[in-house]
Amino acid sequence: MLESPVTAPGRGTFTRGIHPFEGKELAADAPIEVLPTPKQLLLPVLQHIGAPAKPPPKLDKDAVAGKEIAGPGGFVSAPVHASVTGKVGKIVRVTLPNGRHVDAVAITPDPEQPTPDELYAAVLGGDWPATDLPEHEPGAIADAVKRAGIVGMGGAAFPTHVKLASNPAKPVDVVLVNGCECEPYLTADYRVMLEAPRGIVAGALLAARAAGAKAVVVAVETNKPRAIEALRTAARGTIATVKELETKYPMGGEKQTVPAALGRTIPTGGLPLDVGVVVINVGTALAIARAVLREQPVTHRVVTVTGHGVHAPKNLLVPIGAPYADLVAAAGGLRKDAVRVVSGGPMMGFAVADLSVPVTKGTSGITVLTRSDLAVAEQTACVRCGRCVDVCPLGLVPTKLALAARKSIWDVARRYHITACMECGCCAYTCPASIPLVQLIRMGKARLPRG
């Protein structure tokens, strides 16, 4: 069923944006290692956008790795599976890095666990049949994705089956696999692209079939030549093509990747679906392949533990629910001058105060920053220099939005399109006056009166 590959007509870049310090060399060459099984895991019932998963009224006393412990709480929702075999404890409340305060199921792992090699082979290794995939019904693929609890692994954690569900009103013709890991420091996606490229391609092809797309484009930034090479090799003989994009932040944002790779502009307030595109992260693609071909749910993911604040930056294969403290310990522990632990990358990640928080499906990395990474001048007044306008990838005026939000002047905030902001952080990165622009805009969006 080979069809001629659709060329990706995008010009490979987008206007504005920034070139922050990359920091990828810290962990880029560290092969994925398997995290030793933690003493206790906490599985939050809400690891995605949408309704929380619902644990049954009476929890099973024993958890088996890969078995569902909480079912989906609605259409836009995803089930949660036990990531290890062990004893189920009480339901507790945890505060996730993004500030959400949710129920979590505690699991104490049994002493006997699969060896690291077995785990690696089950999740990442082995062969992935990218070129001769078994014929699956589109509906069956989406169903498998749903049952496996797959959500966007890039960080947003939107339930993937919702994207793949065919919608006659908005037909999909391209599946875009997002390999632009544009966040500084993070290398988890990069390692996955190097170590399981065929799995990614297979997952993408399955996703394309589920969504009814005719083409698959894998978009990777030019700073990852080895990943491009690996994916090109894996995609040979399939409808998938690899598109190189300029290295620039925030290339990984949907609103930048889609125009850069395909030349289609996503309308403000819209989704890639509005222009016939489904965007999935490379990790998500691999998870789809795993769910459909190996019928395994999301139990593990690759997390980069990096930054100048840890002794040995690493890429780790981690069971969902493992506490951050274990990951940091596996990376050699915090250094003396570490001051900020960030869940995710430094541009859009959330600072974490308490290392007992668990890894969720959306955790792409833990970046530990030192004082010298953060040395910023004292906040001064805005001098309207306009640098934020020069870098905003969406063409907004961040300073107006932020000041209007600070003073609660909502008509100005609306006039300058506050809701269009995607909080990529370019403006605050650039601001010479060190104004927390993103925080103010986020606050403004939260407080903006409706109507």
Binding site: R406, Q439, M443, A446
Partner: protein
């Protein structure tokens, strides 16, 4: 006739003629261009306090007056004016007021900075609304952040940060509800004050007792002893006692509820007690504040 007589005559006649012409035109126009207006609108608007605080969910008192007349909006929605205004408006509108109590805000957190545990230094915009978007500033995700957004919005100097927690000065408070809207953690709520002093819950943490103890020295653990003392009035929902203020009656034996509480979550709020008054004896009380722009001049519509 002398020149002066003629000039006088002419001048008088000119003005008279002008007055007649203009008066006729305006008088006729007044009839022809007449637009019927509900006379009650002005009276309703006049009996509202004119603070334009927005507590009634309308932009200003004028809008609310219009809503009462046109949409039949409830007449009891003005917390500033309380029952007096409601009855005045009711009289104009010819409807009765069933029952109205003044509502005042209650802060559902009593933990001072020192009593809140697991705090982390925070860099960023120093307002509650902004800080609330950043996790981990303090262990309790329900409690007061202490950065004073409610203080900033209060036009009546009636709320203050005392030891890092918002405390309402019920003598100055007029119940406009601005603080209720400002609090990003929704720990301030409007409560009907059926007596000068009422009993209220001063905790908002819905977690289990042990988790509360981990993050707060004073927060409610959801032990339910208060609910056992008066099951009719108090129900425990999500590990937190909730008063049903419709059933609240100042004559109930309420002190026992407070005595039962093992933490410090049941508090009497409202008018100061004689002891408290003695402490503040010399402080002059400001007269009830009116909105600044409501000067005598403004009633005239005349500027220039």
């Amino acid at each position: 006739m002398s020149a002066i007589t003629i000039t006088l005559l002419l001048a008088a006649f000119t003005l008279l003629a002008m007055a007649v012409v203009m008066g006729t035109i305006l008088g006729v126009a007044n009839k022809v261009f007449h637009v019927p207006v509900d006379v009650r609108l002005e009276r309703v608007a006049a009996s509202l306090p004119g603070a334009n605080c927005g507590a009634c969910d309308y932009v200003g008192c004028g809008e609310y007056a219009e809503a009462i007349l046109v949409k039949g909006e409830a007449i009891t929605k003005c917390p500033v004016g309380g029952p007096a205004v409601a009855s005045a408006v009711g009289e104009i509108m010819g409807v009765s007021v069933e029952e109205a109590f003044p509502v005042r805000p209650v802060v559902h957190c009593a933990a001072t900075t020192a009593q809140r545990l697991k705090q982390t230094p925070y860099h960023g915009e120093q307002t509650c609304n902004a800080a609330n978007l950043v996790g981990g500033i303090q262990g309790c995700v329900y409690g007061c952040l202490g950065l004073g957004d409610c203080v900033a919005v209060c036009d009546y100097d009636a709320i203050h940060m005392i030891d890092g927690v918002a405390v309402i000065d019920y003598i100055k408070c007029i119940g406009c509800g601005a603080c209720v809207k400002a609090c990003p953690r929704n720990i301030i709520s409007q409560v009907p004050f059926k007596a000068d002093r009422i009993l209220a819950v001063q905790c908002a943490n819905k977690d289990f007792g042990k988790e509360v103890q981990e993050v707060c020295e004073v927060g409610c653990t959801g032990c339910k002893s208060c609910a056992r003392a008066n099951p009719d009035l108090i129900s425990v929902v999500d590990n937190l006692p909730v008063f049903d203020y419709t059933k609240y009656d100042p004559r109930m034996s309420l002190q026992v509820i407070q005595d039962k509480c093992r933490r410090e979550s049941m508090v009497w709020l409202g008018k100061p007690t004689p002891t408290e008054l003695a402490l503040a004896a010399n402080e002059t009380m400001p007269a009830r504040q009116e909105a600044e722009f409501k000067t005598t001049v403004d009633q005239t519509e005349w500027r220039g």
